[in-house]
Symmetry: D3
Subunit: 330 residues, 6 copies
């Protein structure tokens, strides 16, 4: 297990030596102003990313054979340069198989995945519509899909992206939808829940998360909406007697969940369930972004009077943490 | 009490005589193609509006002294012209004081106003923040304001506008906010509820509802956001020791609740509570618009495969009623 | 066969009697100002549409049992009202099976469908990529799909919509793409042609053309892009060994062909072939709209100095017919 | 008094020692690449800002107890780095009370504030409307407000922001409005002038100018439009018998002066006076921006053929100085 | 001279006979519902337009030989239909040459054209820049151009369009620019005035005003900006020794005066004079639109509390007449 | 002739000495952190640009008398700094007249200009419209214009800009238009070709290409659309009997070729030829941008799975090279 994580380095003495395991996210040959070759790395673990510099690649203590995607053990010291933390790497070798835990090296959900999964299954079991229950059960019982669903991040950007992020996002949204659905009698709860569970399912193929989080070429050219709709359609086609109208409605939920054509939905929400799905998905994403920014402000030592940094999900707006400003706990 | 209402006329035999009480919403002198003067009226009751024609204003059975805003008793027959119902008025006189109930003559909420009011008061009593409770109690105990709050429509357009509409909208939103608030620990529930209760309070002066629903000149030049913020500010200034920071937050909730500058909010939501208020207000307004359109489609005899008319609140989109299409009840 | 068509009526003596076969596109019960019931019809044939009025539905010469979608024989006279032609129907009966040709009753392409089809097949036979040829051959040899492809209109609005319109549009675009492709060496001609042939294939289920041209509910909720992509995907999945990368590219061509998110494409063109497809599709649609407007101006008797009406496909711009203005033929 | 100002350093020998008084606008602990701690400062005086570096914070000639907001005396030399001037600070101590003049340390208007104020008062005295004169007199005679009005900058960004900037802007606009008003007989001159004088009054609380120019939290959450309207409303409410219609008009002038919803005005100008106020405010702001850019170009040694830098107030457009290009004086 | 004008008919007894001279703006053959041919006319005079109906074109009292563009004497009566005034024409003959004054038959400025012209010439004579004075003198002394400049309307829509409208607009703008220019020392007054005088000069060929106000084909395809720039360029090229830089500046004033690309200016204002020209042109056009709407509201009998109709030049905003609302004169 | 070009340096040993001829595009006096003066240069040749640093300007081996625009011979070594190549210049002297070929020092087309020119002339000779042939012949036979047409770049940015770029772009577009025109019978081919040849002709004065590629002041204030239209108009005016309608059409082609007001066209395409011109110009520019990005990706060593950099001409979209991804040649 790792002793020290990237996030810990913020409060670590600059210049003091340490060593730890990292995933190599980038490896580039560079040359200094005075024409000396050096290596520029990006190293990652579950708490963040760090630039690494190997000023003397010929040093025998530096392994020659490591590549992007490898797990390495590195020794060196960290310092702050232009407000970014940078590691000077003095020694580096490939980690032995089993020596480091992959789970420590990519950011992942802070929730218990098994518990999230059982919450998800619980929501499906609460369905009264047998066809929708059959659809979701079939999907969630597919071992490859279930594994991917448990692992996939919900987005590429570091910011909101972590292993298990997709599942965490879906379970949070299920809970919220379950609170809101009864307020509107015209809502078909099971259809809404089906939309919640499937809306981002295409991300299991839009993104790859082996080495950092990246878009696949398929993801770039087709997008998770199309991938997810195709996956749902193929599954419904495989279920004998699945009602054709219900199939159209489920596909419509997936297609329209971004709520606007310019956000990549080829259709706008045209049924009440799709309208609610779009609102709750949007609200939940924004509230998570705000929560993340509040935490970041605290980590960065900002005062209660200070606004957060610009929140990308809110058109670069800056927010104020109500409770802190009022002097309340947290 | 009225025997027959405007909405009933849709299924009434064309040409058969009837009489009823109406509010005169418009009275215009006109001339026919062949140069004969006639009167063009718009008559209203709580179920809708109806064009009226008096082809012979000189007829002694037609009162001379009625004006816009008067309650009249009219007799005649109805027919459909270009898909709009029109009444040919044969007799018309001013109603005696007490003869007709004003409540029958303007559309009003189908809920029990006293019960809505006690729900609202109940939400205020559930507050744990004494300052916000004091603010709302002071406002709701102001007799003139309380009366206006119980009567005011939530909007001018016929569509969503009825007496008690503001209160109905606010109570529905309180219920929804109460369901959603616990999902987000960073939300200050009492501040959110305060925003819900006060966000549209300026409508009590932006609109008039004596004769139909109109904007006041003050409403046109200042808007309900400014009127409401001024009302809240004056009240908070009158409460000794009201915390200045809380005052700023309450005003910010009102100012930002439209969520976008182009919708007339001079500030965007910059605290989590304002963000949630904007989302829930928007969702609730849209869901009510959809519910209204579904009812209208049924009244108009549309089939379950047919889309609704264009929904103004949803950028002229047309919707499909999921439950009807699937052949379920309702 | 019909003797007289709706378009002929423009130059027909108003008031003179005639009879002809029509498709009933709409049938509504209405009431006159003086409370007499009458029937309002919309009658269509391949040259256009016409409002019909039956002022005395009880007349024994008027059949009782006809409905929307029936073919009828009607007798009466036409006149112009507010610049729209209207038919007063004096007699009407259901047509006998075989008495009228359905092909005369809906607008259809002026080209020979068999010839268009063989042009299309010829383009496919010119492919050098065996996989794409196999994909298209499989699709075009499916009898149900081939029939629908030959019949489907390219759009709902009367304007550009006629039976065979989809095929006509696709063949025109094939010809144009075949001219342009050699200008750009980086273009994979067969992939471009595949995109041209499949881009609107989903319209065979987005639209129905039994009685007039309408959107299906599936079409409204999913759209022809999604329907077409699903059809192509299912077919490619059924071909053993179809290359996965090629599958992604074909789907991308379909998904991105509208060229902008706000036009309903969930992905923007990201390969050169998709870029060219979007340009040529857009150009061809606009040039057809312009040609149609020029013909309409001539039919309406506009002078060579006069602009066309507002062209919807060109943001309501009005155009000038260069050749006519210069006094050249046509 | 200061001997040397930041703007003078542009023509000062790099590396030559000097000392001067500065306001500390920012103080940050940093570490060099080689892990040595240093201090990063932003120092300001009335002519601009300057980065300062203290490479050896432990040096006994460097005071330990200074903070952001303090006035200090610093000694060192300046040099240019990446086109920005930077000061290497060798000695630094807190200034004694009275040793330095605060007025030298923040940018301030080049006009005589007392004279600007008497011009403003003169405009008010020229009013013929006694109510509006009473309103403005009351406001301008409030000592705290009058002081803030004389001191406040008109904006935060360095660019157009200086002590007295608000007053300078308002007096310039009064003069311009006084020229334009007589051209339009329908304009109520006194109402227009009232709008001119009050439109930005909320900036006295939206901004703080003790240490540099910053937005207050109140300013961020409410904005100067709301703050100014509330201030005007409270004052009008305190004047017995102030006409209610006039109150609405004055508030409307303030609310609508940005001219567009997306610029933060909750109402668009709906009276002629508000329309003119918006135009003149916009024109005057842009002309001041242009004049500032022309001066900057001359200071930077640009030739008469060269365009200015990108002007933020003109959508990043670049301008040409007509007179210089034509070879005329100035 | 005409005895009665179209605007007078609003207060004329419906059905009473009158006769007057009109310009025939449109003549169309139509057929009634009962298949009788009739003539539909649009008749104009300097106060407005009027629909005319000739129900019996065969009547010997109706001339056969009149066409669009002719001056006719017509007799009949007027009545109101759907709020539009309509004339039933009983007799109609061609006017004899000299019998009617063309000036009575198209709307024209209420100012004295000779006086406006001499004001314009006066502004040119006040120039200190000899080159610009020479340019404008050359243009204004061209007899054909000077005549067109005195006659041309400033726009096509009836609303702001009248003979002499261009000259009236330009002189108003000269006066305004003359007031504003001294406020900004960096402004070259003569260049600004040149821009004011020439900015719309292309309208003399963009519009035709022989029979009503129409766009020419040249006007539609090139626009008044291009036509005006070409006219100015040709004139400057004809003046020996005209300074090339001044030529570029004059052309830039014309090209950029609409202020935005989306308003048809191919260049944005990039010199201070162009910026001021755009602002003043825009302000003056809007103020004239507002003044026109206020007059229209009074003519239509609206009360002082009522907003104007939607003002096209102000994005369909409605305005309030400050002075009337406050109960002041006018 | 030069031995080594800037593009070659990417694969040159860092630190190894070389010498070559360059055009000086920029020369700036700067000072190091430690207060030592140095010279910052931008050096160009036909393959690109390079930053140069002269750390010791006083060195006798460094000429004192060179300026921006001079051709120099420089000796030194190159290294990579922050991914940009930088040259340390040790010796530098002015080149002797004739010693270096100017054609080697600015980027220029890879096509044979004489051949491009004869292709262009060939297109003109193929015209059947004698007037348009006369217009183009007159223009192309003007020696000064013809020289400029052969030399001018098509744009300022390095990216697509090279000597002869305008001619190369026009000839490519002629070829494409010649392929597309026959597909649309309503197109007047000669008018379309005239538009193709003249649409960007104003660039010969909008840009200067003596020292790098820059906008002229005339270009900035008037733009190539206006300059080109004026040039075409003057030429047509000089041809006796040139048909006025044809003149309007030719000018309209130039004015409208950007296709949108917001792209600087003062008129939208309103004739079919202008519509086609705008489409083909846009398509060709984008396809060239894509081809350039594909080449750049290969030069940068990107893999076939990697997207290109963000393409400015395609709204910062990234593209995939179909052929490379499929593993085909190229």
């Amino acid at each position: 297990m790792k002793d020290i994580y990237i996030a810990d380095l913020a409060n670590f003495d600059e210049g003091r030596n340490f060593d730890s395991y990292f995933l190599v996210l980038l490896k580039q040959q560079r040359t200094t102003k005075t024409n000396k070759p050096y290596l520029n790395l990006i190293l990652g673990d579950k708490t963040g990313q760090l630039e690494g510099r190997i000023w003397d690649p010929a040093d025998p203590r530096i392994a020659k054979d490591f590549e992007r995607g490898d797990i390495v053990k590195a020794r060196g010291s960290a310092s702050r340069f232009d407000d970014r933390l940078q590691m000077k790497v003095d020694q580096l070798r490939l980690a032995q198989p089993g020596e480091a835990d992959k789970a420590d090296l990519l950011p992942s959900t802070t929730y218990d995945v098994a518990k999230l999964w059982s919450q998800l299954v619980g929501f499906v079991e609460s369905f009264t519509n047998p066809e929708l229950m059959r659809l979701l059960t079939t999907l969630l019982e597919d071992p490859a899909l279930a594994r991917a669903f448990r692992e996939a991040p919900a987005a590429k950007q570091l910011h909101h992206a972590w292993l298990g992020g997709l599942l965490e996002h879906v379970v949070s949204l299920c809970t919220l939808a379950d609170r809101v659905a009864p307020h509107y009698p015209m809502i078909d709860r099971d259809l809404l829940m089906t939309g919640v569970i499937l809306h981002d399912i295409g991300k299991v193929r839009e993104l790859s998360w082996e080495i950092g989080f990246e878009y696949t070429v398929e993801g770039v050219l087709l997008g998770h909406i199309q991938i997810g709709a195709a996956l749902a359609e193929k599954t419904m086609d495989s279920l004998p007697g699945f009602p054709p109208k219900l199939k159209v409605l489920v596909l419509h939920m997936i297609l329209s969940h971004h709520g606007k054509l310019e956000f990549g939905s080829p259709k706008l929400p045209m049924i009440p369930e799709a309208l609610v799905l779009n609102f709750l998905d949007d609200l939940d994403a924004k509230m998570q972004a705000v929560a993340g920014e509040f935490e970041k402000s605290i980590r960065e030592g900002k005062g209660p009077d200070e606004l957060t940094g610009k929140v990308w999900a809110l058109d670069q707006r800056q927010l104020l943490n109500t409770r802190r400003w009022l002097g309340e706990g947290k």
